[in-house]
Subunit: 483 residues, 2 copies
């Protein structure tokens, strides 16, 4: 660990979140920002291992639901990218182009891969019997973001999974969009303890080329929302652009219905860090903790050998059910080790000294509560229970926080006040179609916040008129500041 990072986190999460975040990601050895390429960062082993685990969780859910892996080129020919007009309009300003070798077509680094998958659907799907076709890839995408970049939050290269699915009917495609939200619920909320608002974005804020987009908004400690996995109903827009058809049951040709879903691992890591971390550093849910249990031997010169041997025995016993690490480094004191693993967010620490060895017990330090508990070595169920309770606490705490931060607002003044206090406003709203633009602009200009959308998996009915223009409200929307 470089010397400048040897001290712990000095910023307070609730006082200066931005500084806390920048310290934590570096001191916990998640990233290194010193390579100095704008928008591109180095992810260190601790971060890479967490990201790998998030990938694993997602790939498992995708495969369970019939998705198959593929590997697409990292580049897209200009003619592909230009086929769907809304898509190219939205993405052109953000594309990295390659210097083109003589005589060949101009190539872009992929910002997203609809224009690679749809032409392949056109080749792979012949008849309704080939449907649904559900594919995905894990990999990097590139966007020449002109806004300020922030490590893991907004970068020019990020690591994601993109799933691209093709269906015979609109109904099946829309059911997939809902299944995508279920996958976000399963991984983000249930496994990682991060609750979210599935937000059907307003017309003016959907993915370039989509019929509609449902994003997942997650609360950050500063009260702002960050977009996590989003899912898009592409309808027949891309299939028409690429002439991707299939023969239906009556033998007639129809255009495919497609969807896309994109969880970004590097961004999910942001929410893990921000949602669960505390002033000591990271707190990692057990599902993605590279180490779930760290064993720290505490010895004197006299009992060193014995204690270390006993620790090895414990490790062997525990690693059948848990990811365990025994920290044997001689150059560091137990206290220094305590701090380091707390900073890195390891859920449970086992402290082993003379007393524990004699009693055949384990002293367990629980990261989130910063509390010790003594258990019997032979009680193997207890550790599993402690892990389950740990994950449950993280989730509950985050759920309560999100719930508390949503306030119903009846007037512009209430919205202003709520936003100033870092809240999310639930309001009656005229329309998230084009007619609603003036009201949304009012929010943006006067309150410095965004209309994030309507609930994407449940219909909510407005109880009175639009909070801004006073006309009939068709929808209930959520307003918040965002990353």
């Amino acid at each position: 660990m470089p010397e400048e990072f040897q001290q712990g986190v000095t910023a307070k999460k609730c006082e200066n979140f931005s500084e806390w975040y920048n310290q934590v990601i570096q001191k916990a050895e998640i990233v290194d920002l010193r390579l100095g390429i704008k928008g591109f960062i180095v992810i260190r082993p601790w971060g890479a291992k967490i990201i790998e685990k998030i990938y694993d969780l997602y790939e498992e859910e995708l495969q369970k639901r019939g998705h198959q892996p593929t590997i697409m080129p990292s580049v897209i020919p200009e003619s592909n990218l230009k086929k769907e007009s809304d898509h190219i309009k939205g993405f052109t300003p953000e594309v990295f182009w390659l210097e083109t070798p003589k005589g060949s077509e101009r190539l872009a680094l992929r910002p997203t891969s609809e224009t690679l998958y749809t032409p392949m659907f056109a080749l792979w799907v012949r008849s309704h019997r080939d449907l649904p076709m559900k594919l995905y890839q894990r990999g990097a995408v590139f966007r020449l973001d002109t806004k300020a970049t922030r490590p893991l939050i907004r970068g020019r290269e990020f690591y994601w999974i993109e799933a691209h699915d093709a269906f015979a009917t609109k109904e099946e495609a829309e059911a997939q969009v809902q299944e995508d939200i279920e996958m976000t619920e399963k991984v983000l909320h249930q496994q990682l303890g991060i609750p979210f608002l599935p937000m059907k974005r307003p017309e003016w804020d959907k993915f370039a080329g989509a019929e509609y987009t449902i994003g997942s908004d997650v609360l950050m400690p500063d009260g702002k929302l960050i977009q996590q996995p989003s899912t898009h109903l592409m309808g027949q827009k891309f299939s028409r652009a690429f002439n991707a058809k299939f023969k239906n049951k009556d033998g007639k040709e129809e255009f495919l219905w497609t969807t896309a879903y994109g969880p970004a691992m590097s961004r999910i890591l942001v929410s893990i860090i921000s949602t669960h971390g505390d002033d000591k550093g990271l707190i990692l849910p057990t599902s993605v903790a590279p180490i779930e249990i760290v064993i720290i031997p505490i010895y004197t010169k006299k009992n060193k050998k014995e204690i270390l041997e006993y620790c090895k025995k414990i490790k062997k016993k525990l690693e059948k059910d848990h990811r365990v690490h025994l920290d044997e480094r001689e150059e560091h004191t137990p206290g220094r080790k305590f701090n380091e693993w707390e900073l890195k967010g390891v859920p449970l620490r086992v402290e082993v000294g003379q007393k524990e060895m004699e009693e055949q017990t384990l002293t367990i330090f629980i990261r989130d509560m910063k509390k010790r508990e003594k258990i019997q070595l032979k009680d193997s169920k207890k550790l599993k229970l402690l892990k389950r309770e740990f994950d449950e606490r993280l989730k509950k705490k985050a759920e309560e926080k999100l719930k508390k931060s949503i306030v119903e607002c009846k007037t512009k003044e209430e919205i202003k006040k709520a936003i100033r206090n870092g809240k999310i406003c639930k309001v009656n709203w005229c329309s998230t179609a084009k007619e609603g633009v003036p009201c949304a602009e009012y929010i943006e200009k006067n309150i410095n916040a965004d209309v994030r959308g309507t609930l994407g998996n449940k219909k909510e009915t407005p109880s009175s008129n639009c909070v801004i223009c006073g006309k009939t409200a068709k929808e209930v929307v959520y307003i918040g500041r965002s990353y």
Copy 2:
């Protein structure tokens, strides 16, 4: 499956390997070449799953030996790439450059990542206590290859792991080079059944920037050699270029010793296909077969329901120990299914009909021998044994082929004849340092073959003078044609 690929492989592997290869990779749905971007291809689910398994095998071996994952940017600033003079000379013609946003440094798509890892070593390593530092990443690299591209063999984007390690001494770095060869032995030879010659490359054929390179040469069916994972002793060349130092035990600053190792998953897939495949298609070692056992129900209208239920029971029983797939598609005959899974290389097929159900037996078709064997359903050990024997046969066959193809040659004429017959020549050689260039050029110009190098993990002593110039031979080299 598109109609044009519905028929099986029509080319014979031993008569027209090139055509056989092109048919197999497409008909077995490994790749799709129809996207039409020179050097970039689409890898379909069957191919992507095999590649994922090769990644798994490698990551396991790397982590066992103390390597930690990292994620580096896909781009390299021009100034980094230019720091080591031999490196930039070797790689410049092959680099894809990005069109540079105003006011920022020119960026290359990474062709390899020494110039990203070494500056990080300079930041991360302070003292000998931080060493060794063993890192790796999985991901894509990009090379603007100007030679003819061939799918999976030579492309402009390929998928690999690159391991970059730093050490305190040359001895430790050289030991790592040998450990890298051991990993190739473990994965390529032992787990995938692909024997190789570890070849210490001649001076004129080493990696741009390395002190020396040891490649792994694998035999292709046409008698040519293809380079598989190579490992490089970088010595202190990159650490000097990036001022990457550490404090030794005496408190003095020294430059790091670094190594690099690069197994390319897409290329290893080439050798799996070419080494083990036959005229029916792929034959996959069980370690990377996405499906190890496919169950094909054989029923009449009368016993359909019963047979399918019985098949599901078998599946449930077998999938505890094997990757199993039950092919229930109604639109295809058993015969058509047999052909499809043989083409795709599934090691074992279980055929289940009335008789098998009554006898509580399994009829197993073994892919490489094209032979059936009947086993008792309750004999769960037998299937494991069949798999082990299957893998063992693939390996043995490949070993014998490689062994037979190496011939000792005492004269130029013998070399010519052997190369014409698709053999690898073992000869006494003056030198693989610069003095040997004229002799190597003779081989290249007159025999259209290359000096591949000396054995990289064992010293062989020449028995007489150089086969070309007649001067004292210092080495024993291997000569062959190559991809």
